[in-house]
């Protein structure tokens, strides 16, 4: 039986194995390639998307669990790249290789949605579930802070 859900405000129907992790449904079946595979066991955060507005690890989330859910991927955050977190990421030149950054951005945007003005420690704690092998951690933390200021305006 097909699983129906909404991805980036578009209704989609997935007639595939209901155990398929959302990550692979997005990448292999919906051609949304912005969400990245990093570990497959919810350890690195590269695959982070929003499910009903909450950041989730799509690599371990079967599509059967997202029936009727609203899913937002990096492509849907703001396709023009104008979301405060995206703007901050560009302004502070955060990416090195860039591979983990979709997950970092979705985590950061989720963090700020729930807590628009986090303390430095809340930023560090909120972002430390995401691995960046290039070591862009300082700029990630600064960019979350900058994005938080942009929300104020």
């Amino acid at each position: 039986m097909a699983i129906n859900c909404t991805v980036n405000k578009k209704k989609v129907s997935l007639d595939i194995d209901p155990n398929t992790p959302l990550l692979w449904a997005l990448r292999d079946h919906l051609s949304l390639l912005g969400t990245k595979y990093g570990c497959g066991i919810a350890q690195c955060g590269a695959c982070t998307v929003w499910v009903n507005g909450e950041p989730m690890r799509s690599c371990v989330l079967p599509i059967s669990a997202v029936s009727n859910a609203q899913i937002t991927t990096i492509e849907g955050l703001d396709p023009a790249g104008k979301h405060p977190v995206q703007q901050a990421w560009d302004e502070l030149d955060v990416p090195q290789c860039g591979y983990c950054q979709a997950g970092q951005i979705m985590t950061a945007a989720g963090l700020l949605k729930n807590n628009p003005h986090p303390t430095d420690q809340e930023i560090v704690d909120g972002m430390s579930g995401n691995i960046c092998r290039c070591g862009t951690y300082h700029r990630i933390q600064e960019a979350v802070k900058l994005a938080s200021k942009k929300f104020k305006k």
Partner: protein
């Protein structure tokens, strides 16, 4: 950087009004624009069309080191155009246009600096000549600014308007380069040219490649040293979404329609392996280290004076043994590659640091000439040296040739972490003798590496300052595959050398910084043997870091020092450790780097900070164990990567002395383990001899 619509309309008007007629420019896309201007590919690195669109081609693979931004910065500076006007494109493999189209050894800017400047300055001169001809003035009276030639009587002509005429001129032989005080782009903070695509989730990486008719595959590889005896394919082939199961070179490839089908099929696949010799374990490797240290078959890498005689006269002898394990590169994007092998042509696409050797290797494997093999270079989700090996390219090509389909071979994280070409495991033994005044009179080093090649760097400072030196290396062959890992060999040797010197300084009763400065003074006044580094540049980074970090002037803060020369750059570091709840915590690292001219300050800071975090994380946590030829751990739950809540403050400074730029992707890593270990010792009186520390 796309031309804005307004810009575009203005330039169209400058070129000719004709093209605006009967065409809705407001919906014009990039491909429509291509049709209009007659593109002038002035040289390998740049083209300017009649509309003034400047495209700069970056030939070297981008793995996160920022080369796709840094190269065009240099060309744009000498071309004298506004950075906002420039569009950057990744050039695919083209052996006729480019030399050294690879990423490795922190060598790209060192190699290409003059070429890039020349590429820009040549076209700037041609633009000036075209304008001078048009205005009938002496070219020496013309100037340029932001892509416009300025004449002596106030004339102005854009590069776009001059492009056609300039393209017909002979290439000038005499060029003038900008004075560095006039640099507008070089040395400024330039944002990554791919940022916009990264933050909006565009498909940029190898894993994102999609081609018509493409299938997916994963490959099950044998334990190191084992061979495939049999496997159960029939049931697996019948599973949903599975297209084929084939075997080659002791591997089993599962070909399918999508990733999840393949993952499920893998869980059902049974492979039986055998081996002629016992398979390796970590115990085997320890035994080999012990034997290597006792062996009389070491290769002498450097000999100055008479170490044996000198050590006998020493008043104090310091000895220490250091050891590092095999570790994985673990870039965030696991290995993957696309190949489409047809009878007489091949398309390769994906993340490789070495497209030309990849092309050659596939040519040798499939007996198809290189001119029939096209290589598209994708952006890479990290490399760290892993993508200097072409094992994954060859696998994809061989599989495509067997199944006769375009295929994207994907490695899981577990495949990536257990699939080899690791940083080699190495053990070092150091011995130093000091005389009554605390001077080092004799130095010995033996490195025993497992598939490490020469595990020493025999000319490294303080060699050159010591009269009696003996450096030896032994390489033990192992079935565990190895390859370059960010700052090959020095990523650990740097720690061992800098930790040992700290111990020697303590035994000699000297300050670690003063001891090094005295040794460098010796190199300047009375060098011993061949010297491969510049002592004055060493001194400068040391003095600057001592000042910036307030060396030994911060009460309650425990500091550790290191300094290293690698990839032609110099990096000095002071690490700081505080003891919290009885445990040492690295709170800050100050680094001063001499990489010559800083091309992009933003990118340079990223490289230094990233390399320090990389060096610290791997020194603290990374280790692979082996049992029956199989590596463990195999994923990030047990193979610890440093995280954002574990990084110290990093204060990165650059000497920026205007010398032609040298490497920056690697040089800040080798000194990191040493500065941190020395700071931990200052805080706890406990020395680390093995990595990982934890």
């Amino acid at each position: 950087m796309k031309t804005s619509r307004r810009d575009f309309l203005q330039k169209t008007a400058l070129f000719t009004g004709v093209f605006t007629l009967g065409f809705d420019w407001f919906s014009a896309d990039a491909s429509a624009m291509e049709v209009v201007g007659s593109a002038g590919r002035f040289n390998a690195f740049l083209s300017i069309d009649s509309l003034g669109k400047v495209i700069l081609y970056s030939p070297n693979p981008e793995i996160g080191q920022g080369i796709k931004t840094a190269f065009p910065v240099v060309v744009a500076e000498e071309l004298d155009v506004d950075w906002a006007q420039v569009q950057v494109e990744q050039a695919n493999l083209d052996t006729k246009l480019f030399e050294r189209q690879l990423t490795g050894g922190s060598g790209a800017l060192k190699h290409s600096w003059e070429r890039l400047r020349k590429a820009g300055a040549t076209v700037r001169k041609m633009m000036m000549q075209a304008a001078a001809d048009q205005w009938k003035v002496d070219v020496r009276t013309c100037k340029t600014a932001k892509g416009v030639v300025l004449g002596p009587a106030g004339q102005k002509a854009t590069y776009g308007s001059l492009a056609e005429a300039a393209a017909k001129l002979p290439v000038p032989s005499e060029l003038t380069y900008k004075d560095r005080k006039d640099y507008k782009i070089i040395g400024s903070r330039v944002k990554g040219v791919d940022n916009k695509n990264v933050i909006t989730g565009k498909p940029l990486f190898g894993i994102d490649i999609r081609k018509p008719g493409m299938v997916f595959a994963q490959i099950v590889r044998p334990p190191f040293g084992a061979s495939l005896k049999s496997f159960s394919a029939e049931d697996v082939k019948k599973m949903p979404g599975i297209i084929d199961v084939v075997s080659f070179k002791n591997k089993v490839a599962i070909v399918g329609e999508n990733t999840y089908s393949i993952l499920q099929a893998r869980a059902s696949l049974r492979c039986d392996y055998g081996s002629d010799a016992p398979l390796e374990s970590t115990d085997t490797h320890q035994k080999w280290f012990d034997e290597g240290m006792k062996s009389d078959k070491a290769q002498v890498m450097r000999k100055d004076g008479d170490f044996t005689a000198a050590i006998a006269t020493a008043t104090k002898v310091i000895e220490a043994t250091y050891e590092c394990p095999f570790i994985s590169h673990s870039p965030m994007e696991p290995m993957n590659f696309f190949a489409d092998v047809k009878a007489d042509s091949v398309l390769l696409a994906g993340p490789t640091q070495v497209p030309q050797p990849a092309q050659k290797a596939v040519s040798d494997l499939l007996k198809i000439p290189t001119d029939k093999i096209q290589v598209e270079i994708s952006k890479m989700g990290g490399g760290f040296g892993r993508r200097l090996s072409n094992d994954f390219v060859l696998e994809a090509a061989e599989l495509s040739s067997i199944i006769k389909k375009p295929v994207l071979v994907m490695w899981t994280r577990e495949d990536d972490m257990t699939g080899g070409t690791y940083r080699p495991a190495v053990r070092y033994h150091f011995k130093a003798g000091i005389d009554a005044s605390g001077n080092i009179v004799a130095l010995y080093l033996r490195g025993v590496g497992l598939n490490a090649g020469n595990s020493t760097r025999q000319d490294n400072f303080p060699v050159g300052a010591i009269e009696n030196v003996l450096i030896e290396s032994i390489d033990q062959k192992s079935a565990v595959t190895t390859g370059p890992w960010r700052a090959p060999i020095t990523n650990f040797l740097g720690f061992a050398e800098q930790a040992f010197l700290d111990e020697v300084a303590e035994a000699a009763g000297k300050d670690p910084i003063q001891m090094r400065l005295a040794l460098l003074d010796k190199v300047k006044t009375k060098p011993v043997g061949k010297i491969t580094y510049e002592p004055a540049r060493f001194e400068e980074v040391i003095k600057q870091v001592a000042e910036k970090a307030q060396w030994k002037k911060k009460p309650g803060v425990h500091q550790g020092f290191s300094v290293y020369y690698s990839h032609l750059s110099y990096v000095a570091q002071v690490a700081e450790v505080k003891v919290e709840n009885g445990k040492p915590k690295v709170t800050k690292v100050t680094a001063v780097t001499d990489c010559g001219e800083v091309v992009n300050l933003s990118g340079a800071e990223n490289q230094v900070k990233g390399a320090i975090i990389d060096g610290m994380g791997h020194a603290m946590f990374a280790k692979l164990n082996f049992q029956a030829g199989v590596a463990s751990p195999n994923n990030f739950n047990t193979y610890r990567m440093i995280r954002g809540n574990e990084v110290p403050v990093i204060d990165a400074h650059f000497v920026n002395n205007g010398i032609a730029p040298t490497g920056l992707g690697e040089p800040a890593l080798p000194p990191t383990g040493g500065s941190i270990a020395n700071a931990i010792y200052a805080a706890t009186k406990k020395r680390h001899y093995k990595q990982p520390f934890n």
